[in-house]
Each structure stands twice: as C-alpha cells, then as structure tokens.
Symmetry: C2
Subunit: 220 residues, 2 copies
C-alpha cells in the first residue's frame, strides 16, 4: 500500500512540475514577473499585496491570483482597487497547484500585465511541495507566530527568495527574538533576503518595493 501511494504522489508531483514549467514559459513569453506568496493563515499576505498595489500601480500593470479553500474575500478586496483578480477556491485542497494557476492565467490579459502575484492558501506546509511556475517565492512570517517557525517548518523557509517578517509594529507585545530567528534562517537558507516590515503602518516597506522594482527591471 505505501509503495503504491508513494508512486501516485511521485506521479502527481512530476505532472505538476511539467505544468509549472509551462506556466513559467507562458509568463516569460509575455515578460511577466510571477511571484508566489506563502504564509500561515492571517500573516498578512493580502495586506502586503494591497500596499504594493497602492505604491506601484502607476509603474507596473499588476494582476492577482487568490487561493483559498473557500470564500472570495481577498479577490473582492483587490478588485475594488481596479486590479484584475482571479479567485481560486481549492474546495478543501491545502495548496494551489500548477494546473489551477494555468487556468487563472488563461483568464488574465497577459499582454497587458507586468506582474502577477499568486497568493497561496494560508499554510506553511503543503504549498512548499507544489511548484507553480513562479519566478520568485516570497514567504511572509508574522511576529505573533513566533521566532521558532523556521525550525518547525524548514522546507518552506529553505525555498524562499525573500522572507518578510510582518507585523513589526506589534514587536513590543510579543516575545519574538529577531536574533534567534535570523540564526535559524541563516542555517537553512543563507541566500534569502530577510526584511522586517509592517504592512499596516508601512514601516520597512521601502526595502520590499525596492527589491520588487529591481526584480521587475531585470525582466524587461
């Protein structure tokens, strides 16, 4: 039984990997930068996207693909800003996959898009196993979750290009040790860029915008 399950899992991941490559090629054809954003539930992915839309909407044509088990709360927020948003409801599945992303891309005007944010399902585990074809992986950890998360969820932290520590406006009210966190991340993924931010107050966001604009420039 276990060998059979393992084979099925390899089949699924292999097929997903192929489709992810095709997504990447599609984005490349249109010179689109595609960014996969992951985090625990409620860490602030949508707030980060909203702040980024407000700041960059005159510089880049953005679109957002929202992944949730249920509801369209996040896509509704993005649409109100006049940005194309596709809501994917995974109907129980704990992550987005490459096939879902392809369907969403097919519903966007790719010729009129420079930057696609993919907001993955709130989960520090399963999304790490499923490639989507994104060029960059941004992981958001919020201060209230605690500094021990890299040790508990290592794969996700290993894969990130950028790790944003969100909600630093509430640092005084939590026992979050920035030094211990940096040390854990350094042991897993020394190349990751770690940026403390508050998507609520705007603190630290300049560094995020600057990283993003640099990545956009390199796509041109």
């Amino acid at each position: 039984m276990s060998v059979r399950i393992l084979t099925i899992k390899e089949d699924i991941l292999g097929a997903n990997e192929e489709k992810a490559k095709m997504n990447r090629e599609l984005a490349d054809q249109h010179h689109i930068l595609m960014i996969n954003i992951t985090s625990s539930p409620g860490a602030g992915k949508t707030s980060l996207i909203m702040q980024t839309i407000a700041r960059l909407k005159n510089k880049a044509r953005m679109a957002v693909i929202e992944g949730d088990i249920a509801s369209s709360i996040d896509a509704d927020k993005v649409s109100k800003e006049g940005i194309p948003a596709i809501q994917i409801n995974t109907a129980g599945a704990c992550h987005l996959d490459a096939n879902m992303i392809r369907k969403a891309l097919d519903n966007l005007d790719l010729g009129q898009t420079d930057l696609v944010f993919i907001e993955n399902v709130g989960n520090l585990i399963c999304p790490a196993e499923f490639a989507l074809g994104a060029h960059k992986h941004v992981l958001l950890l919020s201060v209230p979750e605690g500094d021990d998360k890299p040790r508990k969820y290592p794969l996700m932290f290993t894969q990130a290009d950028v790790i944003l520590i969100n909600k630093i406006d509430v640092l005084p009210y939590f026992d979050f040790d920035m030094g211990a966190f940096s040390e854990s991340v350094g042991g897993l993924n020394p190349a990751a860029k770690v940026l403390p931010i508050s998507a609520k107050t705007g603190e630290g966001l300049e560094q995020w915008f600057s990283w993003l604009e640099g990545a956009l420039d390199r796509r041109k």
Copy 2:
C-alpha cells in the same frame, strides 16, 4: 487519473477512521479523556497546554503527544514540567494520523493517565480530514490571524467542540471584530463553545479549566 487518486484517498481515510476508532476504544478502556488541539502555526497551542498543566497537575495525570514536521521544541518544554511527552515528527506530512497516535499511546503508561492532549501540526486544513480517536476537538484561533478565518477554513471550524480565541491581551492592537467572528462561527457550528482567552496573561482561562474539568468528571 483523478478517479484513481480519489479511490486511494478514500482508502487512506477509511483505514485511518478504523484505526481512530481503535485509539478511542483504547482510551476508553483506561478512562482517559483524549483531546485533539488544532490551530495555525504559532497560535498558542503549547502555551495553552503549559498553562493547563500548571493548573491541573494536582487534579489529573496528564500526558502530551506533540506533532510537528520537525524539531522537538514543544515536547522539550512539556517534559521540563515532569509531564510525559511524546514528540512525533511527521517528516513533511501536514497532519497527524491515527496510526501515529497509536504508536504514541503505546509509549505512554495508560494505566497512570487521565488526560491526553494531542497537539496537532500547525495547520488549519489537513488535520480536519484525519480522525485521531480523540473525544473532543479544541480549535485555537489567535487574534492576530483575523476574524475572517471561519469563512476561509470552514471545515476546521465546523468540527470543533470548543473554539478558543487566544491572545486577547493584544486585542487593542489588531482589527479583530468579535461580533463578526461570532456570527461566522454561529453560521457554521452553533453548538461550539467559544471562549476568549490569553494563554499569556491567564485572562479567560478559568472558563477553559472549568470546561475541561467538567469533561474529565464525565469520563469517570
């Protein structure tokens, strides 16, 4: 392919359900109350367990089964209090299953135990699908995660006997609407007991201890 996967999934869930029933029977034979605690990463499951150990250690003989992808951080904390703790590392799996719990139970002195806490992997999705044999399901949501979580992760909220809203000590610093939260929960699971608490300051914990002692008394 999808039919084949669905069949495999049903096989897995069916076999798990059987093993969960056996865990429940084993606990019942020893008059043990077994409680499954789920939440997002960093919502405060371990802090709740530590507070409960401090309060009830002279009234009930407790043991803790800790589930994590990696590390033994949580089991180490519990062991320091002189309480038996079994750490399960799921090696990537996003939830505990009934088989893992059986192995942990086999490593506890059940004749000397009244109450077993199972701290599930930090995840609002996958643990909802895998029965463990627990008598009660306690779901912890923390204020910083936001009041919209029942709408985004409905299955988990539907299954809970008790929903603890943790970290109410930081309510002034977050936009958490207690009324909107209660309304969402009421629509999904009107029978659930909702208790606002702070595992850090102790606020509201009396209601939790009182619920737990009631459940323990009913097991005798």
